[in-house]
């Protein structure tokens, strides 16, 4: 009985080590702050170098209220530009439980 019990010790060590190590194995993204220890959610630290400043008066990032845009010439951009006939949409304007006004300030 005693000898049988001792036979289980090495097997248990192997199983325990395997379980412990395998539980920490996830895909990693070198240089992006993933170290595989998060377990919940997506553990992410951004690469250093995000610096703010220099937002001059003409620098714009906010949503549009709808209206004209500059439809580029065909082939002038890496992306496919929306046609000039389309007006640029805005963010949703319907409140929860309210009526939808759609995302485009113009009716089509």
């Amino acid at each position: 009985m005693n000898r049988l019990t001792w036979r289980w010790v090495p097997a248990t060590i192997v199983i325990g080590l395997f379980a412990s190590l395998s539980s920490g194995c996830i895909a990693t993204g070198g240089g992006y702050g993933y170290d595989g220890n998060v377990g919940l959610g997506l553990g992410y630290y951004e690469p250093a170098g995000v610096v703010y400043g220099g937002w001059g008066g003409g620098y714009r990032v906010a949503p549009f209220r709808g209206g004209d845009h500059r439809a580029g010439p065909s082939g002038g951009h890496a992306y496919r530009s929306a046609p000039a006939s389309r007006s640029a949409p805005s963010i949703p304007s319907r409140s929860r439980g309210g009526n939808s006004r759609g995302g485009d300030s113009r009716s089509h």
Binding site: N2, V9, T12, I15, G16, A19, S20, S22, S23, G24, C25, I26, A27, G29, Y32, G33, Y34, N37, V38, G39, L40, G41, L42, G43, Y44, Y45, E46, P47, A48, V50, Y52, G53, G54, W55, G56, Y59, R60, A62, P63, F64, R65, H69, R70, H77, A78, Y79, R80, S81, A82, R86, A88, P89, I91, P92, S93, R96, G98, G103, D104, S105
Partner: protein
């Protein structure tokens, strides 16, 4: 007789103790690695899907308690703590709706990283999106995986290095309604080459791309799906060309000036002072106490009540 049996008894006890210890280590390891249920994105679940919409954001922070105090004080968020193994997660909500996830993770000052909010964009199929992204120059930072009650998700870096996540939510996507104050309302990709990045994200999410008027030498591209603006792709400020490409997310506030002051009082820093942006929307950029950047956007709910400069 007794002296012969005593070593056996001690050996047996030692063996049992060792077995218990090993099983504890193994089960602790499994518990730490197992995915615990996170709150669903939408509760009750919906059948809505809005590919290309920013549907969630997650923050990794070295001081979870400080982050909860900061964001709770600034936006009125409340938190539900979830613990799995060694990981602490705080599910943030506003009026019962999930607004964010906060994850604690140790951070050493020697690392060339900084805390950040991770932008999560809705897709129909995470795995095929990953494949498509890789074909067009993206890197996989976190391979697709399924999270109980949340969905399937992956983290990618676009060809210029901006990091984002994609998610197929099992509870559907949040509805297209105007964000309430304290909820996320807008996202901007600030990047070296908006033209190329817009093409990349258009490939992934089938965005309509609108080129908006911008100052000389800058680009302001609007990315839209379902006839709604989802985000912008901006060139970074010409006077600050060293910035790392990144996504910046904005919380809607009623008064950007007051919120910025409050953020400072709570331990944050103002990175960009409140300023009037396009169509009267007022913008500020804030760093939380750990340095994670986010935006404030003062946005009126009717076009006739635009903020004036």
């Amino acid at each position: 007789m007794q002296s012969q049996r005593r070593p056996n008894l001690i050996g047996c006890l030692a063996t049992r103790s060792l077995l218990v210890a090993l099983l504890s280590v193994a089960s602790a390891g499994l518990a730490a690695g197992a995915a615990s249920p996170l709150p669903p994105l939408v509760d009750p679940a919906s059948q809505e899907h809005h590919v290309g919409k920013v549907v969630f954001v997650e923050l990794v922070t070295p001081d979870l308690a400080a982050a909860k105090q900061f964001y709770g004080g600034l936006f009125g968020w409340t938190f539900r703590d979830i613990r799995s193994g060694n990981t602490e997660y705080a599910a943030a909500s506003l009026d019962g709706r999930a607004v964010a996830g906060l994850i604690h993770k140790e951070f050493s000052t020697g690392e060339h990283h900084q805390p950040a909010w991770l932008t999560v964009i809705a897709v129909r199929d995470v795995d095929s999106t990953r494949d498509l992204a890789v074909q067009h120059g993206a890197k996989v930072l976190f391979a697709p995986r399924s999270v109980p009650d949340r969905g399937r998700e992956a983290v990618l870096a676009d060809p210029q290095g901006a990091v984002f996540a994609v998610l197929t939510s099992t509870s559907g996507d949040p509805p297209d309604v105007l964000a309430a104050p304290g909820e996320w309302i807008w996202s901007s990709l600030i990047t070296r080459d908006p033209d190329a990045d817009a093409a990349f994200y258009q490939t992934l999410f089938d965005y309509e791309v609108f080129d908006l008027p911008a100052v000389e030498g800058a680009q302001h591209l609007l990315l839209a799906t379902d006839n709604y603006a989802r985000a912008s792709a901006n060139s970074w400020p010409a006077s600050n060309p060293t910035v790392h490409p990144h996504w910046l997310n904005y919380v809607r506030v009623e008064d950007a000036d007051e919120s910025a002051k409050k953020a400072v009082a709570l331990g944050g820093r103002i990175l960009v002072e409140p300023r009037v942006d396009r169509h009267g929307g007022k913008i500020a950029v804030i760093a939380d106490p750990a340095g994670a950047a986010f935006g404030l956007l003062e946005w009126s709910d009717t076009q006739s009540k635009e903020v004036t400069q």
